[in-house]
């Protein structure tokens, strides 16, 4: 059977974003708009204590006085904050004792995403928290983790069950006054994940959260708070998808990591929010504040594979406060069609002998714009601190752009800061070489790009590395020109 041009085109269009399905689950949505009443509604829906509501309202007041930042190298229509619903939850939500109680539609959604919890339970030993439209619906492996004293639950549960920890640490790394979107998030966040690893405990499995925006006309504002107590270790994964919609959806998350003395946190993200169609219509605005703080001899390592979103604005950062602490940032950011990404990191060296490494690999295709923006700041007291940054850009077409905005502020003469940058275009000779050996062009591109991004992909946990490779392949289909 042969295709008509139209059929083929349709199939290609549909193929490009595999996770564009909408799950038919009854959900409860707050009326659109943002004011104190909406915030009170969210808070009461979640049965929050008074202190939490007070925090939200304070953040809202701060937010109202702020204006949206426009220094990033991205162009977009600013979201209308009064035209978004700030709360949507799958309706049948109640205390879930076992998977049998989870809405079967929801389970099917998870299966489509390739994260069948059933299977995960049996095979991979990954504990998953699933956040759909801002509400955490299922956390697996809870019991096994609690034997070790590990707390891994939804943010709302933590607010009610572990208020001391939440009060002590929430907003300490990303204060609600930090920036426009963190203030907005602090006011309206509906859920997220919370994790606490006790002293000296090495978390025996990867902890994972899957975020999904399902409802239309909603924003997703989740919050993650991860505390690794002294000498503990945890590896945390985060994945994101959203249905294909013509409108722009807003995602403004806050992630705070606290690594106490000698603790280590590895935080990996595979971000695949809907990027918009080939003409640049629709897609998620991904405005995220992620930051971690390191105590004495502790280490925070951010790894991210960013393939989705229409506009990304994201700088996972480390505050290296403790002496001998280490910060790492490994990133692969792919942009295609009309996607725009302004992403990078901030490494703030405060303690002595602190060390940071930044490896950023940008891949631009179509008419997209891909920017690396990074700050390396060496404070006065950060004696003998070291930073190494490497920013590579790979161009797939002659209509896309790659930009690098490195900022270096050094206030201590004993510090060493290195910055390397390269820009290259995917080679015709490389493609021909592969094709001569029988590797089709699409496959060759994926092979070359994966090779280019290998340093970063190698940092991902196994289960994610495979998924990330596939994502790169899908994101770049038909992208060379």
């Amino acid at each position: 059977m042969s295709y008509t041009e139209k059929e083929l085109k349709e199939e290609l269009n549909n193929k490009s974003y595999e996770f564009g399905f909408v799950t038919d689950i009854e959900s409860e949505k707050a009326p659109i708009g943002l004011n104190e009443d909406i915030i009170k509604l969210i808070s009461s829906k979640k049965n929050e204590p008074q202190w939490m509501l007070a925090y939200r309202l304070e953040a809202f007041r701060v937010w109202q006085k702020m204006s949206e930042p426009n220094w990033a190298h991205v162009k977009y229509t600013k979201p209308d904050f009064q035209n978004i619903s700030y709360y949507a939850a799958p309706k049948k939500k109640k205390e879930l004792k076992s998977l049998d109680e989870v809405d079967p539609e929801l389970l099917r959604t998870m299966e489509k995403l390739g994260i069948s919890i059933e299977e995960q339970k049996k095979l991979s030993g990954v504990a998953v928290d699933f956040v759909m439209d801002s509400v955490s619906v299922a956390t697996s492996f809870k019991e096994k983790l609690s034997e070790l004293g590990i707390i891994f639950c939804s943010f709302s549960e933590a607010v009610n069950n572990h208020p001391d920890l939440v009060k002590k640490y929430m907003g300490t790394v990303v204060p609600h006054t930090d920036n426009y979107y963190s203030a907005l998030n602090s006011a309206v966040f509906s859920d997220g994940s919370f994790c606490y690893i006790p002293k000296g405990v090495r978390c025996p499995m990867e902890l994972s959260t899957y975020f999904r925006i399902n409802e239309s006309g909603t924003g997703q504002f989740e919050r993650t708070l991860l505390i690794a107590d002294e000498s503990s270790y945890v590896s945390y994964l985060e994945g994101c998808t959203a249905p294909q919609r013509d409108e722009n959806q807003l995602h403004a998350a806050v992630v705070e990591l606290i690594a106490l003395d000698k603790a280590e946190i590895k935080y990996s993200t595979v971000q695949n929010w809907y990027p918009g169609d080939a003409k640049g219509k629709g897609g998620v605005y991904n405005f995220v504040t992620k930051r971690g703080i390191c105590g004495y001899r502790s280490k925070i390592s951010w790894t991210q594979v960013e393939t989705g979103s229409a506009v990304t604005w994201k700088y996972p950062s480390c505050i290296l406060k403790g002496d001998h602490s280490i910060g790492e940032f490994y990133s692969v950011a792919v942009t295609n069609n009309f996607q725009q990404a302004d992403t990078g990191t901030k490494m703030i060296h405060i303690g002595k002998n602190t060390k940071s490494t930044i490896i950023s690999k940008g891949i631009s295709a179509g008419k997209s714009q891909n920017s690396y923006r990074g700050l390396v700041k060496i404070g006065k007291g950060a004696k003998n601190s070291r930073n190494f940054s490497q920013c590579d850009s790979l161009l797939m077409t002659d209509q896309c752009g790659a930009h690098t905005f490195p900022y270096i502020e050094c206030e201590n003469p004993t510090a060493t800061v290195e910055h390397e940058a390269t820009t290259s275009k995917i080679g015709e000779d490389q493609l021909f070489y592969c094709m001569q050996r029988g590797i089709s062009e699409e496959k060759a591109i994926s092979l070359i790009v994966n090779g280019y991004a290998k340093e970063v992909l190698n940092k991902l946990p196994m289960e994610f590395a495979v998924e990330a490779q596939k994502l790169l392949e899908i994101s770049l289909e038909g992208s060379v020109g």
Binding site: G427, E428, D429, Q430, F432, Y433, C434, M435, Q436, R437, G438, I439, S440, E441, K443, L447, I448, N450, G451, Y452, A453, K454, E455
Partner: protein
């Protein structure tokens, strides 16, 4: 009677509107080794690129019949699947992609084309061990990125290793001897000879008769201004070594 593998008829081609091949004719049967020699700029490397399907070259006239099929419009990968192999004069580096992964992908893509299951890891590794021994490829090179940081000799040896893995019907060696010392040359030639069979054929493109001491050709062709102007047996190469090309460029001697 030997079986025809490839027949090139009246082949003409351009690059950037400049005519490179101008009516080239060549027939190769299974089991044969052909050497193509000729002065710089005569079109030797162009011929190999055109046969492999490099779309920088535009075929303006003529035909290439490979195993009974016209291939001048066929994609490079399809030609490869059908048994065409080009050992590059300048093998390309692909950072971050291991040699092993590269070859496994190549083999699996071909299997997919023929509707065969992908090759099991165990069989693949066994094959790698066998074939790398054949060309004396250092074990470490197999896991390194394709050609990255390889010496000139290692790159050429790697080409022959890939050839062994893909087991092509027609192998074109584009100046495989360039940049090789005498020991490396012997190893490469030895590998090529071991891969020869009554089912495949080899085209050796070279400037020097030296390589032909090790890979003995059945036919020697002289390419000049995009055409084959003289064909002969092995002795023609020796004659060229002594006399150069000038005596042939003069029409009377053809």
């Amino acid at each position: 009677m030997s079986e025809l593998l490839i027949e090139i008829k009246d082949l003409e081609c351009n690059i950037d509107n400049q005519k490179i091949l101008q009516g080239l004719n060549l027939k190769i049967n299974k089991g044969e080794v052909h050497a193509i020699m000729g002065p710089n700029g005569s079109g030797k490397s162009t011929l190999s690129s055109v046969l492999a399907g490099n779309d920088n070259y535009e075929v303006t006239n003529g035909s290439i019949n490979f195993l009974g099929e016209e291939i001048s419009e066929m994609s490079p990968e399809e030609r490869s699947w059908k048994g065409m192999f080009l050992a590059f004069q300048y093998p390309v580096e692909i950072p971050g992609v291991s040699n092993i992964n590269f070859l496994r992908t190549a083999l699996n893509e071909r299997n997919k084309y023929f509707g065969i299951d992908s090759i099991p890891a165990k069989d693949f590794l066994k094959m790698v061990a066998e074939k790398s021994e054949l060309v004396g490829l250092n074990n470490k090179l197999k896991n390194r990125s394709v050609n990255e940081g390889f010496s000139g000799g290692e790159k050429k040896r790697n080409e022959i290793f890939q050839m062994a893995m893909l087991d092509p019907k027609l192998s074109i060696l584009d100046e495989t001897d360039s940049g090789l010392d005498i020991d490396a040359l012997k190893i490469v030639a030895n590998g090529v000879n071991k891969l020869k069979s009554s089912e495949n054929a080899t085209v050796v493109i070279t400037h020097y008769q030296r390589l032909l001491d090790y890979i003995v050709p059945d036919f020697v062709h002289v390419l000049h201004e995009g055409k084959i102007i003289k064909s002969g047996d092995k002795s023609l190469a020796l004659e060229l070594e002594k006399k150069g090309y000038d005596w042939l460029k003069n029409d009377e001697n053809i």
